[in-house]
Symmetry: C2
Subunit: 583 residues, 2 copies
Amino acid sequence: MYRSHNCGELRATDINKAVTLAGWVQKSRDKGFIIWIDLRDRYGITQLVFDEERTPEAVIKEAQNLGREFVIQVKGKVIERASKNPNIPTGAIEVLVQELHILNQAILPPFTIEDKTDGGEELRMKYRYLDIRRNPVKDSLIFRHRVTQEVRNYLSNEGFIEVETPYLIKSTPEGARDFVVPSRMNPGEFYALPQSPQTFKQLLMVGGMDKYFQIVKCFRDEDLRADRQPEFTQIDCEMAFIEQEDILNAFEGLTRHLLKAIKGVAIEKFPRMTYDEAMRRYGNDKPDIRFGMAFGELNAVTQHKAFNVFNNAELVVGIAVPGGNSYTRKEIDQLIDWVKRPQIGALGMVYCRCNDDGSFKSSVDKFYDETDFRQWAERTGAKAGDLICILSGDTHKVRTQLSALRMELAERMGLRKPDEFAPLWVTDFPLLEWDEETGRYHAMHHPFTSPKPGQIDLLKTDPGAVKANAYDLVLNGNEIGGGSIRIHDKETQSLMFDYLGFTPEEARAQFGFLMDAFQYGAPPHGGLAFGLDRLVAILGGQETIRDFIAFPKNNAGRDVMIDAPAPIDNDQLEELSLKLNLK
Amino acid sequence: MYRSHNCGELRATDINKAVTLAGWVQKSRDKGFIIWIDLRDRYGITQLVFDEERTPEAVIKEAQNLGREFVIQVKGKVIERASKNPNIPTGAIEVLVQELHILNQAILPPFTIEDKTDGGEELRMKYRYLDIRRNPVKDSLIFRHRVTQEVRNYLSNEGFIEVETPYLIKSTPEGARDFVVPSRMNPGEFYALPQSPQTFKQLLMVGGMDKYFQIVKCFRDEDLRADRQPEFTQIDCEMAFIEQEDILNAFEGLTRHLLKAIKGVAIEKFPRMTYDEAMRRYGNDKPDIRFGMAFGELNAVTQHKAFNVFNNAELVVGIAVPGGNSYTRKEIDQLIDWVKRPQIGALGMVYCRCNDDGSFKSSVDKFYDETDFRQWAERTGAKAGDLICILSGDTHKVRTQLSALRMELAERMGLRKPDEFAPLWVTDFPLLEWDEETGRYHAMHHPFTSPKPGQIDLLKTDPGAVKANAYDLVLNGNEIGGGSIRIHDKETQSLMFDYLGFTPEEARAQFGFLMDAFQYGAPPHGGLAFGLDRLVAILGGQETIRDFIAFPKNNAGRDVMIDAPAPIDNDQLEELSLKLNLK
């Protein structure tokens, strides 16, 4: 054992104890006759003191040569600190050193190992092992561990069984792209890495496991967007003999427990909203309801005048920005420029100031009068001092644009408070969504999701109108979980594959085992999967997941620390019955 | 909610309650006027009764058509059972059915869903979702969950942090073959799936995480032997600022806790044995010490006569088989045939009967006398009534052969009791082992293992004699864990790669990131990994791991249920910049 105590442990009650500590040199102050060193480990920092009157001379000499991040072991006595540091738990004491052993030297780190480091993102990723020494990253990883422990213990106590499903499975063209793994023993054949354990958890329900969960890595070979990872972690859950209401209650229970146990936040009942309502009121299927600014639809009170921009629009919709009347003309122009950026794509923005005296001032004053404005204010909930921002156009596009504006304004106004938690169930998602690229309907959730009872015939006449027993759990404007009640009979599942454009042969080849399984007595079942990386980040008060992943990949899917992916030997390719086919 | 209670829950105290149950039809007995059905779910079995005097006629009619494994929901009243079944927890009651809903039909399962099934291994694997309905498999999976929960809670309480390391890493030619994953975004480059998170856990130690664990899938593309899986699960652990003694104590603590919590077995202190001693006494580096039959080396008491088989042998070694003198001549001949089988490869076996009157009768009576036999008995610990079995030849081979015989005899005599637990630490493994095939030394554990202090120079003169700070945890003759103290400085690690035949360029290309990391202040560290699949199987009293894995692969690495691996589309190959290269 290299230590009797760790660096976060000693207190005033330990004064006069002989101790051995080990850790990293955080910093050193050399006053000639006395040297102070901050010794750091995972648990904290302890001040060491080397004093020419009380520490052997040779030890002082050696201490003078210690650089940042040297790994040392010291033996000494705990003494009372002259000037106490109330900011750290060990601040009442210091260790008067008698013996010093250098366990390992360190060359100068490429960035400072401090909470606020001078290292840029790329450098920190390349030397991730040094980045992990910094409190913000280290604490995030420990936080993640705490969350997963809470999840496992909660679900286990509720009778869920964690079952490991396989990683080497079968590729299916449905959904995102699979990562594949060539099989040496079966030349020309490939495994796929799971995008989720979906079919396996359904088979576990057919197998009678009743309540399943797994915290599990999943893989998607997608063109990466910022803050997406090719490998990510899910809390994957499934239950049998349940209805949608049971699932919502079960996982609301888990989430409520996490909020209470981890954040000390008590939330009684999570609000619910249908997908249609979420789109209408927030232009978004994962609305952040920590703040207001709900949409007011204005067609009825804008399309009766000669303003053709509105008259020709499918949807005219606005939000009230609290206190927004204080914006200068220049600030409003900047907002208009912001919504016109290609990433947002609005053609323009109409605004209306709500003055303190009850009057209005709008960019479309020549078309509308006070009566109109008063109705706009009413429908958007605008009060004196607010600013009404109005967009118009194609319903889907304009909702997306106004939602982006709403989030941007909330961000700027500090309404997205990281220590405030607003969960929300969004239910009744459409079963299918139209894909412009392929010109056909795709399963919005996945092809195993069951349509709402009685709506299956609607698939023939109005597929886009069919709603599913599908739901998302939203937290602070992020989807943290999603799931559905599944199809559990072979006929409906065949029908669904048919509607999704599978030939019977394709359906058989890819999902034959599942449809077979349904013939042997499949119970009604459904489930939900949480995105763990995001859940942990949001609970941790952040929106970027990277600090909550020990060894993340960059936006090109590379691990810049180990330099992967990398070429492999020709022998290896040969063994796998493969050849490169580079363009 | 499809049920008010599960099928394992109702007791005599519930009599007269109105209940709703759901589950599978286990079996049905139709007496005409009365039908009994055993309804099964994960939690147990409840007897349903349909009685023509008390159940609506239509319900009885429908009940008559229920087949095995139909999924049904019933509503009814809990009543006292006329003939109680003391073998099941619900045996005091039955449910008098009023309503019956068929939730799903079932075709006849391909094997019986019973504890003793009529299904063969292949069939059970193809319909694994039905196999999981059987108690032996279901209970094994639940048992596995309990074990992992205990492991996680114990290690968390001891201050270990579970950190997820990446699955898409980099291929290294050292060790077993990697599974690789082509990168679409980086044409011509590949990720590898980890054989273990070894380098990442070491980097976490460099990163100051101090105590790490992870229950994690690992992958090896090996030619499969029976009971090997291409993907398997480890409890992977690492600690910093520790010596070997600390690691042994930490994980002895975990194992002791598991034995107590899971099996109710209290074992105070685990015995320890060096590798050399284990080989000398048991011919095996993972001896089963639940029983005796330790080896007696007999060179000194066999090589002084004219028996050249022994005189020319490097090692003459025997074991005493308790009570073995009762074996008939035919039985002994069968033993001799057994050791001569090609799988064992002995050239013959000498035996010596220890008669009850203190005399001896041996197959080599013409070379040796009573004085010799008495010494053989003394060295092998043979008593009156025992049989001494002696093999001779090349030391390593003969030890392996006699070890196989020892295990076989113990198995036959029922000495390998599944409910008895004998853990053992085997320490001081050799650092290197000679590989006949490549004609060079390989790292016995892995290239990151540190040699014993002071032995590094011996690498130059007698590499095979160098011992490592490496240890295995053995339970009942199975290696359940293994680990080592790691090298933590760049120079020693470079030297080690050099001895293992890496050029500096190869070492740099594959492990440059690790050697770089060692320059920035790496603490002394070491760890251990448990094979979870085997650990769980042994705790469960079995030696085959397959029932403890939800969806195992067969010996050809195939998942016969989903039929993977499988060919992929040409488009997919094209996207990955690959071509098949089939012979």
